[in-house]
Symmetry: C2
Subunit: 337 residues, 2 copies
Amino acid sequence: MAEDAPRRQPTLDEVAERAGVSRSVASRALNNAPHVSRAKREAVERAVRQLGYVPNPTARALATRQTGAAALVVSGEDPSIFADPFFAQVIVGASAALEEADLHLMLCLAASDRGRKRVEELLRSKGADGVMLMALREDDPLGRMAAEAQMPVVFGGRPVGPAPRWYVDVDNAGGAREATEHLVSRGRRRVAAICGRLDTEAGRARYRGYRDAMLGAGLDPLPPREGDFTEPSGAAAMAALLADHPDVDGVFAANDNMAAGALRTLREAGRRVPADVAVVGFDDLTVAQIADPPLTTVHQPIEAFGREMARMLVALVNGQDPTPLILPTRLVIRSSA
Amino acid sequence: MAEDAPRRQPTLDEVAERAGVSRSVASRALNNAPHVSRAKREAVERAVRQLGYVPNPTARALATRQTGAAALVVSGEDPSIFADPFFAQVIVGASAALEEADLHLMLCLAASDRGRKRVEELLRSKGADGVMLMALREDDPLGRMAAEAQMPVVFGGRPVGPAPRWYVDVDNAGGAREATEHLVSRGRRRVAAICGRLDTEAGRARYRGYRDAMLGAGLDPLPPREGDFTEPSGAAAMAALLADHPDVDGVFAANDNMAAGALRTLREAGRRVPADVAVVGFDDLTVAQIADPPLTTVHQPIEAFGREMARMLVALVNGQDPTPLILPTRLVIRSSA
DNA sequence: GCTTCCAATGGGAGCGCTCCCAGGTGCCCC
DNA sequence: GGGGCACCTGGGAGCGCTCCCATTGGAAGC
């Protein structure tokens, strides 16, 4: 009755032996490849069941030269950048798409030197079948490494500089323009922008969108007021803004976190939102709904962003040549503007 | 000048040949193992540099029977559970600890059937050197799978039922008790609890802490008002609470998201916080600081949680036998209570 | 009935690394 | 001066799988 606990995992050879076939046939049966008779196929299946056989992914990887994993690399100087719920949603999307392709997700936070070194090694050693790269800053060494890697690379968000061959991005400039135009259409004239880091393309593009909208409306854009996409930086930027331009009546913040910070500063300064100052954010994360007042914000399809990035990578891994993708944004009007 | 782009990665054999040594010596030099003369060691290093050699992790994995990766599995029926910023912080901590041990992080969202199946396969095929398991619900099949796996498994948060051999957890009951006692000490008498999912141990323990504190103060605990750790569920629970107990003057919410929802409902119902109703949350995520009013909440060391989980796993992988860990919580007093 | 063809089969050579072991060298010590 | 005894060294056997290829046998075609 008591089954001897097998110390070692059964191997394909043992399955083959038990099924009375050769290893080749067993392998073909397992990968349901052609050229296996019905009888033997069934014999193999039976043996697999009896032995509780599971193929060894490492051995398979070595033989096929495919790891069965895709890496998602998040750059940035500070690991806490990853605490932004934005990434969690990207991961949910990417994970779903990779699951369909039966690829595992390796997550690499390339904040520390050590982390970057490990990513470089991953890239050079083909430790994954492909890589998704996010949150690159200007002159990020990861960009160069990726270019040199003999491996499919998809960028999540274009990096600063020339656009890479494969990327998924969001219409940052368009979204920012729409947000700013909304403020202007509500009669705001002294509209300022709290920007994200200007060493990222997203930060730059969103400022460009703001500026274009202002110029288009015949208004003077204010110079960029740089934050780092965090709530405190938004609060600080808003405070500085109030000091320099007490008459500001509209604010476009390059993400919801900073918008929330701006809201806090405005509340503390006794300014009513939106009566005195209207505020628009970007991202449409949970914080936008929770904020008081709820934030009017530029919605971006974050989960789709992750999903499309992964799908593009899968296509590349399968030898196809997908085209870059720019996802649309859409203004969600709540009460802050 | 123009270097021929080598189509194939150089192998250890080529390094050895170039360095004029055997493969064994090259291997030892690479892993800086003993029994290699200084001269040959340097020759190998030179050859590595000239050839741009990077060891093939898959081949190494096959030979050593170690994958060099640890998996973080997040269970739950809905992938969006992962959108909770809680997990992002856990990942930051875990990632840092794994980086020290030179292990890669595989992230598995085991929400769909397909996802669970893949985790099972991972477990059975030893596709990773160890696994961290989080967010298990009652009777979660993952628990059984993990128990059967011939692989180190660390639980992040104890599952419902008997405690596993290795886990990292937070003092949920203690934190909840402290939170509730705080409300009582501020003179609140009609204190309710908005619970998390009661099919998770965290949800249960936090309710137990609330109940114990109430009983300890000679007050009647209200029956659990169950949410699912999301903001809307907190808002809904609060609304139901107001309907059933209009005289409620204190609320302990089992996490910050639900507390934020409660805040919203209270605001819409015209109740002042904390004057009419005091609210305490749990987690101390960013949302607690952003909320209006800022939330008094039970701080838990989330990043440390992830870090310790990973460290425990690394210890197990290295053949040690670490002891389970329960991390302390601490009440952070802001203005909501 | 004999060639032709193709599905089915199993042998064997890798994939690129680790690690055990047998053999070889120099050096110290009695 | 010879027998240990370090330390080096390289050969070779795996790790568990895939896949090419030569071989077989039976069905189909003439």
